[in-house]
């Protein structure tokens, strides 16, 4: 019976009998071991485990990491962390959370305290899933809860670090603030790194660099007793601190800019024209980011979000304003570069400019007489710029405006930047479904009409004039470092483009700007320092007819003011500029009268700081610590 598949190799079942007998024994022993272990767990230890399952006391607890520090350019810490205490309820069984909240409220009541809980907690708890009842409790509450722990079973105090914003209001638009991650933010993420209750940056640098600042949560496996107190730590994974961020902001200069704008509504941007670093960026009115630490109360939130003056908005990057006469530098550069004028080309200003049957007035009703480029800039003659604007046409103007960085995002490392608006024929046809009118070109050439710029763009454009034509990306983050000091990422200066205007033309405009400040009849005399080292341009943008939305209109009406915005943009020192400054004060009047004095304070503060830092100084405390650590 041996076929091709027959019993090859003398195969015989008897051959294997012994091997299979051994296998049977092994398998029986193995299954017996499992069954005995099962009996041990379920029969002998069954009651014990039943008890443990009923008050399952082992739980995983997340340990929040420390967020990274934020430092200014001189490594002064402007955002740190401080210990805070949360009131947490750890249920040992399923209960209605509302009942617990009522109990805590009644407990607080005895000492005249009240529960500050805005989150709408409802429903049943899950065993050993902690519920945060109140964030960042006061010392009085902490002492009270800790000494009466037995009265509130399951309610415990947990340490949770919160942000400490030493800059307060003056830095809040740059730094932003943090808060608990929202459901929407959580859904947008596809990693497992973040969970409910985790802290995330909500605006400013905190948001922009959240991935670096956040760090990584640790975890802890703990056994808790019936009151929710940890009795034994069973395992631990340390959290990883977030990276530290070094900004280009100079905290002292920021402070000076904030003080210069004190009581006004507006914004100031200070930039280093040599590399695009932002040294100060202020927006007023402002808000205190520390408010968000305890989970901002509904009252505070409503006050901030419904304020008609929009304290939460960073006007320096999100505010869009008509540039007014500061725009004349762009018009002048375009006309020179296009060869339409020379510095000696003169126009006669009799106080108005006629186009068809319309008349466009110069701000100087009596007229400036014959003006050349220099006089036109110094005295800000509107008629001169009406003439050259008309010669250029709106599309050429738009081309040069874009080369100065207007009409597009500057690329600053801050969220919610707006691009502003550079109008052109095509734009109007697309957006307004109407052809362009020549009269509109006339308005645009003195920075009125549809033109909109952000303060950061304005500072950047003047920075380009200051440095001879290089347009930098405004840089606010210098570098990111790990908590051990290792450099994680460097943000080098980035030259975006070069103005399409030859250096000698730029020099002519620079001279004009120097005249604005330092010559007789100049509109920016508020900046006339003894050193005669500032060059700048005033601007006044008419608010009436502002093409802005409902929000701006409402703000205007509520403020009861219909005054113009005051603008001033400048750079200093004239020979080798180190700062470019843009200031806008909303609804305040003329640029020379209102914005220029603000800029003056900032420029003075800059040179004062520079002088005091150059002077030899006593060794600072920080160095001592470092030396000691090194020994």
């Amino acid at each position: 019976m041996m076929g091709m598949f027959g019993r090859l190799n003398g195969h015989d079942t008897a051959d294997f009998r012994k091997r299979f007998q051994r296998l049977f024994v092994i398998v029986l022993i193995a299954i017996a071991i499992l069954t005995l272990r099962l009996a041990y767990l379920q029969v002998f230890k069954g009651d014990e485990y039943k008890l443990r399952s009923e008050n399952n006391s082992v739980r995983l607890r997340k340990i929040a990491p420390l967020r990274g520090l934020i430092m200014d350019t001189n490594r002064q810490v402007i955002v740190g962390n401080q210990a805070a205490f949360d009131l947490v309820y750890v249920p040992s069984r399923v209960v209605d959370i509302q009942r617990i909240i009522e109990q805590v409220e009644a407990f607080y009541e005895k000492r005249g305290l009240s529960l500050n809980n805005d989150s709408q907690l409802t429903g049943k708890t899950r065993p050993f899933m902690p519920v945060r009842l109140e964030k960042n409790i006061t010392m009085a509450k902490l002492a009270y809860v800790e000494t009466h722990a037995l009265d509130l079973p399951g309610v415990v105090v947990e340490v949770a670090p919160v942000r400490k914003y030493s800059g307060g209001e003056m830095m809040s638009h740059v730094i932003g603030y943090t808060g608990e991650i929202s459901k929407e933010e959580l859904e947008k993420r596809d990693d497992d790194e973040m969970g409910p209750g985790d802290i995330i940056g909500k605006s400013g640098i905190e948001k922009f660099l959240n991935e670096y600042l956040a760090g990584k949560s640790g975890a802890e496996q703990v056994e808790v007793n019936v009151t929710g107190k940890v009795v034994k730590a069973l395992g631990h994974i340390a959290p990883l601190s977030g990276h530290n961020v070094v900004l280009t902001i100079d905290f002292e200069l920021q402070k000076a800019a904030w003080e210069a704008l004190d009581g006004k509504r507006g914004t100031a941007v200070v930039m280093d024209p040599r590399d695009g670093s932002i040294l100060a960026l202020v927006s007023t009115p402002s808000f205190d980011p520390n408010l968000f630490n305890s989970g901002i109360s509904k009252r505070d939130w409503d006050r901030l979000s419904k304020d008609p003056l929009y304290p939460m908005e960073n006007r320096a990057v999100s505010g869009q304003y008509p540039p007014g006469s500061t725009y004349k530098v762009v018009v002048a550069a375009a006309a020179l570069a296009e060869g339409l004028i020379t510095p000696d080309t003169r126009f006669f200003c009799n106080g108005s400019f006629e186009l068809g049957n319309r008349s466009f007035r110069c701000w100087q009703r009596h007229g400036h007489g014959w003006v050349d480029l220099h006089r036109a800039l110094v005295e800000s003659c509107d008629v001169y710029f009406y003439n050259i604007g008309k010669m250029l046409g709106v599309d050429k103007l738009a081309e040069y405006a874009r080369s100065f960085g207007f009409g597009e995002l500057s690329g600053i490392d801050l969220p919610r930047e707006k691009p502003g608006l550079v109008p052109s024929k095509a734009w109007k046809l697309a957006k307004r479904k109407e052809p362009w009118q020549l009269g509109e070109t006339i308005s645009v050439s003195i920075g009125q009409g549809y033109n909109l710029v952000t303060p950061v763009q304005l500072a950047n454009a003047f920075s380009a004039l200051a440095n001879g034509g290089a347009l930098w990306r405004p840089r606010i983050v210098k570098q990111i470092e790990a908590s051990d000091g290792r450099i994680v990422k460097v943000f080098p200066p980035e030259k975006k483009s070069v103005l399409p205007v030859s250096p000698e033309y730029i020099e002519m405009i620079r001279q004009g700007l120097w005249g604005v400040v330092n010559e007789k009849g100049g509109t920016g005399s508020a900046l006339r320092r003894p050193e005669a080292d500032v060059a700048g341009k005033t601007g006044t943008s008419q608010v009436v007819g502002l093409p802005q939305g409902e929000a701006a209109r409402r703000a205007k009406i509520l403020s009861g003011r219909f005054k113009d915005h005051a603008l001033f943009a400048c750079f200093a020192p004239y020979k080798h500029p180190e700062i470019a400054v843009a200031v806008i004060v909303e609804h305040a009047g003329g640029g020379g009268a209102v914005a220029a004095p603000v800029a003056r304070q900032i420029v003075d503060a800059y040179f004062h700081l520079k002088a005091s830092r150059a002077a030899p100084k006593a060794p600072v405390a920080q160095n001592v610590v470092i030396e000691r650590a090194g020994q």
């Binding site: 294997f16 299979f20 272990r37 767990l41 379920q42 009923e54």
Partner: protein, 368 residues
């Protein structure tokens, strides 16, 4: 190939009966783990039923082709499976940090599951060619080692250490069964131990971490350590009679991790108690002993080796998985055969059972 009446008469109904009973328990158990989920897209237990039906179809294929033909093409089949493993490197998608799935339309498949079966086939081919009269020396085993090593390395780098371990265990079990010289066994054992530190250099950091955790769960007290504690509480609290179907608090309150996969036995033991546990043990024991009986009475050596290999694979799956959830073995990602949720695993197991039935019903047929 004509399908003889004889074969139908000899069809191994008891084996199929045991397997389907275990599968049924598995589906019921998976139903329980998903019970507290409110809005699951497709309930997992329904998907498991689909996989079992698909597995039964594949079983029909493996039981209708004479196993001797499969043995004849064993190397080719193994080679194809290895190619699919290589495919995973380029086209596979990653889930839970491991790249081990291939997608076909709506399905996804784990070639590393299939490789277990083809490894058994290939080894059966080699050892049936070379007989079992005399014990093997290491030199004789170079080809089998090669047969193991290629897929082993591919699976380790996915990384799927549980399956890699299973391949190694299947291989060692086969070697011990066909017989190896004691001296050579000692040499191979010590050589293997020496190779470990060498291989260490080729691992990535996270792989090292995984391997360390494998040997010492305390390294990861929040992962596997936590799992084991919760698993033991679940099993122990089930007591003698269990808490009842859908009433396991550890399961329903989600204290128990990986309920549908690695810790599926804990769910069962919590709800059905020691009684349920013993019933399941008896079912597995019957399946394993039945498998060995088929191996013993196979008409040819290759049948014996295939049946032995498949049965020992099931045995180790049961022993390691249950030993792990009972807290007597380290936590490794080895699923419980037929009970853990997993499409590829179920289909491959069913194919294996098909082979067992195949060998079983042909033991009386002498002529091809």
């Amino acid at each position: 190939m004509k399908f003889d009446r004889q074969l139908l008469i000899n069809f191994d109904w008891p084996l199929l009966g045991i397997v389907l009973t275990i599968c049924l328990i598995g589906v019921m158990n998976i139903y329980s783990t998903g019970f507290s989920l409110t809005a699951a897209k497709a309930p997992l237990y329904l998907k498991q039923i689909q996989w079992i039906i698909l597995g039964l179809l594949f079983m029909l294929i493996t039981l209708s082709i004479d196993h001797r033909i499969l043995v004849q093409y064993a190397y080719v089949i193994h080679g194809v499976a290895i190619v699919s493993l290589i495919f995973v490197i380029f086209y596979g998608y990653t889930s839970h940090g491991s790249q081990r799935w291939l997608a076909f339309g709506g399905f996804s498949f784990q070639p590393s599951e299939l490789i277990k079966l083809t490894l058994i086939l290939a080894l059966a081919r080699y050892f049936s060619d070379h007989g079992t009269q005399s014990r093997y020396s290491i030199k004789d085993l170079l080809t089998p080692i090669f047969i193991l090593l290629v897929p082993f390395v591919l699976v380790v780098r996915q990384p799927d250490l549980g399956t890699a371990l299973m391949l190694l265990i299947i291989f060692i079990s086969m070697i011990l069964f066909v017989g190896i010289r004691i001296k050579d066994l000692l040499i191979a054992g010590s050589a293997g131990l020496l190779l470990v530190p060498l291989a260490w250099f080729f691992f990535k950091d996270y792989q090292k971490e995984r391997i360390l955790t494998f040997f010492d769960p305390e390294r990861d007290p929040l992962g596997s350590g936590y799992h084991i504690i919760q698993s033991m509480i679940a099993i122990g609290s089930g007591g003698f009679l269990g808490k009842g179907f859908l009433k396991g608090t550890q399961t329903q309150l989600k204290f128990l991790p990986e309920q549908q996969t690695d810790f599926v036995f804990s769910v069962f033991a919590e709800e059905w108690g020691f009684i349920g546990g013993v019933v399941l043990m008896i079912l597995f024991l019957s399946l394993i002993l039945w498998g060995f009986k088929i191996a013993q009475y196979s008409r040819d050596l290759s049948g014996t080796l295939i049946a032995y290999g498949i049965t020992i694979m099931i045995f180790w799956g049961v022993f390691i998985n249950i030993g792990m959830v009972l807290g007597i073995l380290p936590v490794v990602g080895i699923p419980l055969p037929f009970l853990s949720y997993g499409g590829s695993s179920v289909v491959v197991l069913m194919m294996g059972i098909g082979l067992l039935i195949n060998i079983s019903m042909r033991r009386f047929v002498m002529q091809p």
